[in-house]
Symmetry: C2
Subunit: 192 residues, 2 copies
């Protein structure tokens, strides 16, 4: 009647997620197959479907960690000791750096809208945006329009979406990131 003890479990959700995550560092969502995960885990790919309903569910479990990390980065940049302008710049740079250093993950978080991941991560994406918007509003020295904050976010997103094709990590685009961040600072500072 009572459930079997989890003492001698061979395959756990954690193991699956870990393996998927491991492959996720170097490959993207589409390049990782249920079979490649199973093979590395030494089990059949069918076994994974006992623990996860589908491929998307595994990767959503991973993505939530990355959303957490992105939110954390935002917080850290906001609570630094610098003046507001510097911190605002750091928020911009931090967002772009995150995107460029976690390209496969960023793709799934904000760029892909493929099938089932959708409904799951969209909420988290909106939450991250809200956090971003609040940070920017708080750090700005002038009263900002919501639309300006939104445009700024879109411009940051555009940077990551564009540069991920040309660059492997933040380091390789450091200068361009800085220039873009300063451009957005200029745009936000403008008063007519």
């Amino acid at each position: 009647m009572s459930p079997r003890k989890p003492s001698t479990k061979d395959l756990t959700k954690e193991m699956i997620v870990n393996e998927a995550h491991k492959q996720f560092i170097t490959k993207d969502f589409q390049q990782i197959s249920m079979r490649s995960i199973a093979k590395e885990l030494g089990c059949s790919h069918g076994a994974i479907y006992y623990h996860f309903k589908n491929k998307a569910e595994i990767f959503y479990a991973i993505l939530s960690d990355y959303f957490f990390e992105l939110n954390n980065t935002l917080d850290e940049n906001m609570n630094g000791p610098e003046d507001h302008d510097t911190k605002l710049l750091n928020v911009f740079v931090g967002f772009m750096a995150f995107g460029l250093n976690n390209q496969s993950q960023y793709e799934l978080m904000f760029i892909m809208r493929d099938s089932e991941i959708d409904g799951l991560s969209q909420e988290a994406a909106n939450l991250s945006y809200e956090k971003f918007a609040q940070s920017v509003r708080f750090l700005s020295t002038t009263e900002l329009l919501i639309s300006d904050i939104h445009s700024t976010f879109i411009a940051l997103h555009g940077f990551v979406a564009h540069y991920r094709h040309y660059v492997k990590n933040y380091e390789e685009a450091k200068e361009a990131v800085d220039v873009h961040a300063k451009f957005l600072m200029k745009a936000l500072t403008f008063r007519e």
Copy 2:
């Protein structure tokens, strides 16, 4: 000794491209298969490989038309009768409208960096960007930094990449497009 005359050709490159293009209006690259094209054309999918070396080659043939259309749109907006500021705004709006009205195509032109399409369309994408940059430089009332133009392009790209998830065409995002375009105008106009 001489090649067979093309008089009684059943299957032509044009027919294949047309069918692929037809499906490309409502489906995206990944959803269209060699078999779905062949089925509609009443031939085997193997036959297509006689005319095109792979799937990417078919879609590149289609994309070149869309790059042409985008460049045309840029020209039209630039050669209008309005004043420079209005035309510059039209260039921004025109780019976003193109992206939102041709989402599957825009994805392949600027967002996807999937396998073989890459090398082929990257050149065309760079050319389109050059055209955009020249237009902006010409239309601007003040001397612009190259980096500012680049940031502007990236911001426009970000808008399309973001809104394509929420909107089916330009009409549905008209207001947001306008707001974003004006934000970028502000950013470019700013002098410190």
